[in-house]
């Protein structure tokens, strides 16, 4: 399986680089896009002075770096996850079902969104501009970013798999996953119950960013173990929902090839 994923990565990267100018424009454009919001936070913190419910400027920048790298990794390595709904309702899943590989990883890793490289670059640059260079902090940042990429993809799989049961759930799944990204870019402490309950479950912004940010700021083994357990639970849930949905899948007689 790893061999296949490696081949996907190399193939998708070379396909993206085929149109080098377009690739670079997308990467640069995404980088610039993200930079704009940093200005917003700089001005805001300068105006109010102090912090926002315990979040200083540096903490918010950590959220941005984590979100950018985590989201970017998801788009680069698992870029097909956002298309699961359309693949299901168009009957294009047949192509993956016929291949002698595990369906889910094969499905989600078979496409790369080149703009994701802009997010990856931005996340790394922003981290080193605003955060600590201490090796254990850098390691924590990388681990949390990878975790975010995997859990974010798992959330996408769960919601897009609803297409198996409800018909086309593409817009719903897209909205929920975009909400995850939107919420994690703001300090978690500004939200209070009952919205925090939703942000710990249905839209798990707390799990992918706010709790990692707390652990990064002040290491807590117990919290880390709880986080890892919750992440594993989401990943298992995504596999279970997808497999259950797959049993309901019936294709048409659409002919298709993947070259």
């Amino acid at each position: 399986m790893w061999k296949l994923l490696k081949k996907y990565f190399v193939f998708n990267l070379s396909a993206g680089m085929e149109y080098r100018a377009s690739f670079l424009i997308q990467v640069f454009g995404m980088f610039l896009n993200n930079c704009a919001f940093i200005f917003f936070w700089m001005i805001l913190y300068k105006r109010i002075g102090g912090d926002i419910n315990g979040y200083g400027f540096s903490d918010v920048m950590f959220l941005w770096a984590l979100a950018a790298l985590g989201y970017g990794l998801a788009e680069v390595f698992m870029g097909n996850s956002r298309f699961i709904s359309s693949i299901i309702y168009k009957g294009e899943l047949d192509v993956y079902l016929l291949q002698p590989r595990a369906i889910l990883p094969n499905l989600v890793c078979s496409r790369m969104n080149t703009a994701g490289w802009g997010d990856v670059t931005y996340g790394i640059v922003l981290y080193f501009l605003t955060q600590s260079f201490e090796p254990h902090k850098v390691l924590m940042f990388l681990v949390f970013s990878i975790l975010m990429a995997v859990v974010f993809t798992a959330v996408r799989i769960i919601y897009h798999s609803l297409t198996f049961f409800l018909g086309n759930a593409e817009q719903f799944a897209g909205t929920i996953t975009e909400m995850v990204i939107m919420f994690i870019l703001y300090p978690g402490s500004i939200f209070s119950a009952p919205s925090t309950w939703i942000l710990h479950s249905v839209i798990p912004a707390a799990l992918v960013a706010w709790i990692p940010a707390e652990i990064f700021a002040s290491f807590d083994l117990k919290k880390l173990l709880v986080l890892l357990s919750a992440d594993v639970a989401i990943i298992i849930l995504s596999v279970v929902v997808f497999q259950a949905g797959l049993k309901k899948y019936s294709s048409g007689n659409r002919m298709g090839t993947r070259i």
Binding site: G29, F37, M182, S189, F191
Partner: protein, 263 residues
């Protein structure tokens, strides 16, 4: 007058077309509600213990965002239409028709945007009212605000026209749009009123064209004065005229690059 009638017809036809998509458009704007919720949560924390920041209250700051977003979210993607027409070559058909290409695009985009802005403003009104209560002076500022919101939309259409016409040279114009959008986000005061900026930056930002798309219409609505209204209106008229003339010059230059090869 006959000359203007055809653009009025294009404008009203587009309005009728766009009404068909209103339900889908509203569902798509769930994000607008979420943005207002996030910013309400953020500003509520920031305003804790103080009534005014940079001369604005929590109520004014949240309603401000609803007006800047109304201009932004109702934007017609005219640059994409032009880019596609240039790429596909279908622009050649439009050139033979008895109207100005730029005038057609402006009338059509304006019709599209005006249909979109009404539900957005209603949605913004309901959500902001539920979060912070009524904006003081809303009803008296509304007629003036509507004029400036239409002005802001027109200004955005002019930018879209110019960016779209660049497709004659670069084909892919989306990155130019990203840059413009970010300038309106930052320098135009879309998320953060320019009054929050450091003093040295405020003067320049308020005079720049981007502020007349976002800041000026919104600040006139939340902090109404005839002086604000006049500044906003003259600024918008000036920049719309400059951008329309620029678009005209670009189009004329671009026409010389067209080669029609039968078909």
């Amino acid at each position: 007058m006959t000359h203007l009638r055809k653009y009025r017809m294009i404008f009203s036809c587009t309005i009728r077309d766009q009404f068909a998509y209103i339900p889908a458009y509203l569902i798509g704007n769930i994000f607008f509600v979420i943005i207002l919720f996030v910013f309400f949560s953020l500003w509520s924390v920031i305003y804790r213990g103080q009534n005014l920041i940079a001369g604005l209250s929590l109520t004014q700051t949240l309603w401000y965002l609803s007006f800047t977003e109304a201009v932004e979210l109702s934007k017609a993607r005219v640059y994409i239409q032009i880019q596609e027409e240039v790429k596909e070559g279908s622009i050649a058909y439009a050139l033979g028709r008895p109207y100005s290409y730029n005038g057609f695009k402006v009338a059509r985009s304006l019709g599209e945007s005006l249909v979109k802005v009404i539900p957005i403003m209603l949605l913004g009104f309901i959500v902001c009212f539920l979060f912070t209560g009524m904006l003081p002076g809303y009803w008296s500022a509304l007629p003036f605000g509507i004029i400036l919101i239409i002005g802001g939309i027109t200004l955005n259409i002019m930018w879209g026209l110019i960016i779209g016409l660049l497709a004659f040279w670069t084909e892919e114009v989306t990155p130019f749009y990203w840059i413009l959008q970010k300038l309106i986000f930052i320098a135009g005061g879309m998320f953060l009123p320019i009054d929050f900026f450091p003093d040295w930056l405020q003067t320049a930002a308020k005079a720049a064209p981007f502020a007349f798309s976002a800041y000026w219409p919104a600040i006139t609505m939340v902090d109404f004065s005839m002086e604000n209204f006049r500044t906003a209106l003259f600024g918008q008229a000036f920049y719309i005229a400059v951008l329309a003339f620029t678009a005209y010059l670009i189009f004329r230059t671009a026409l010389k690059k067209i080669h029609v090869q039968g078909g």
